[in-house]
Amino acid sequence: MVRKMRWGKRGFAIQFNWLFVLLGGVVILGFFFSIINNQTVKQEGETAQKSTQEINDLLKVSLSSRDTQKIVSFEKKIAFSCDDEISAFYIGSAYKYSRYDYNAIFSPTELEGTELIVQTLVFEAPFKVLPLVHVTNRDTEYVFVEDAPVITIAYNSLPENVTKSLIPAPLGTIAAYPNNNYDHTVFVLTDESKLAGLTNFDNPNNKAYAVVIKSGSGTVIDYGNITFYFHDSSGFVDNGTAPFLGLDTISGAIISHDREIYECNLKKIMQRVELLAGLHSQRMFNYTNLASAICRDNYPLAQIHLDNIRTYASRRPLTVGDFQVLVGAMGDLKSLNSYLLTKTECPLIY
């Protein structure tokens, strides 16, 4: 203790040297830590970017295939957004969005889990329009309340590996349904009066959703309306209604259980129907002049059907009334094409 008190000039100099070395060490260590930190952040971003690319490639492959189902192992969070101008998805902390403005991808707004279930279907009107990609995961539960034939059809249309169940219809079945600890639970039914409070479901807010299907007057899956519900403190809340056109759009609505994403994709489908109907119609005009005399008479009629399809597909907002006319025109065009195929040697319409 006494020695310490006797620091001379040299003692101070030595202490100062040590202090300097310490400071230098801290600076050098700090420098290396900052490099490591930057590298980690960069690496995370790059991994997310790579995952975005993987999903992009996966979706590209899905868009060029038809009627396929696959399970892809994927452990990152994906967020989807779709509006009139921009459709995009991003993964984790990826630097940029990956856009899919002209493709129809039905998915929940967010997916997080270990696997993705991807189903590709081809939308037909009745000519081939575009591939529809349905993306979901096993952490989203789809509960079908078997109260009408459309429910069973919709249940069967969902990919096999999706977490889905068919429950009996009596009143109160939904209220008694428990929280099975999935990220989302989506109830699919035709009667909204059955959406009474979830008494047995712990913490249903932001977890429980419902999709109510109301078929039109044709066959149950031809056209109709779909209403979307989410759950908050007051119970199930109506989040808006949009029309459907065929089974593929019904399953798209169920998979996404989000009105905005569903409607946005439906508009994309309708824009493409309009575009293709126009192109087919022009071709029919050419066939009227160029096809053999025996065939010619069929094409003006095809043109009328195609022009109807084009007109009603272009109408906004999308309504169930327009879809009813569309279904009629599509049916007529299909019958005419079948006639050309089976009864004549004439070129087909599509």
Binding site: S64, L276, L279, Y287, L341, E345, L348
Partner: protein, 169 residues
């Protein structure tokens, strides 16, 4: 300073200088090699993109053959070719959904289809069709040729064709 020491000093400086020059040369050679490898990889990716595009084009409902409602592999309908080419060309002058749709997929590129057998007159609209042409600043890919079946539904005949794809950037 003694003369010997001065000599040693200049010797050391000279050696250091030579080493620096060698390192510099090595660095330049390495960069050139890397640049070449990167360019080669870019070219490979671009060509892959073009091939992928060709595959997708042949499955487009706008172009694919419909024979008894079945799809044939890489088969294009000649009656659809001219209509689509004209349609895209017209929509180019309007900022419509149609042009945006095709531009989103095809970007700056030129896509044409030529019948090579039996007919090979290269007459536009008869056996030569330009589907899409939107030139960028420079031609960055080699032209890629993809053999295709060409089906004329009016006379029910098949022909052999080549789809030519070129991407500009």
């Amino acid at each position: 300073m003694k003369k010997k020491a001065q000599l040693q000093m200049s010797e050391t400086i000279f050696v250091v200088f030579i080493i620096l020059i060698i390192i510099l040369f090595g660095f330049i050679a390495y960069s050139k090699f890397q640049e070449g490898a990167i360019k080669e990889q870019q070219k490979r990716f671009r060509n892959m993109r073009v091939i992928e595009l060709a595959h997708r084009l042949s499955a487009w409902p706008e172009l694919e053959c419909s024979v008894a409602s079945t799809s044939k592999f890489v088969c294009l309908d000649t009656t659809k070719l001219m209509i689509l080419g004209n349609f895209i060309n017209k929509s180019k002058h309007e900022s419509t959904y149609a042009f945006n749709y095709y531009f989103d997929l095809l970007r700056n590129s030129k896509i044409s289809v030529t019948e090579i057998y039996p007919s090979h007159t290269q007459t536009l609209g008869v056996d030569y069709w330009i589907l899409y042409e939107n030139q960028g600043k420079t031609r960055t890919t080699e032209v890629i040729w993809v053999p295709v079946n060409l089906y004329n539904p009016l006379v029910k005949t098949y022909a052999l064709g080549i789809m030519e794809l070129q991407i500009y950037e």
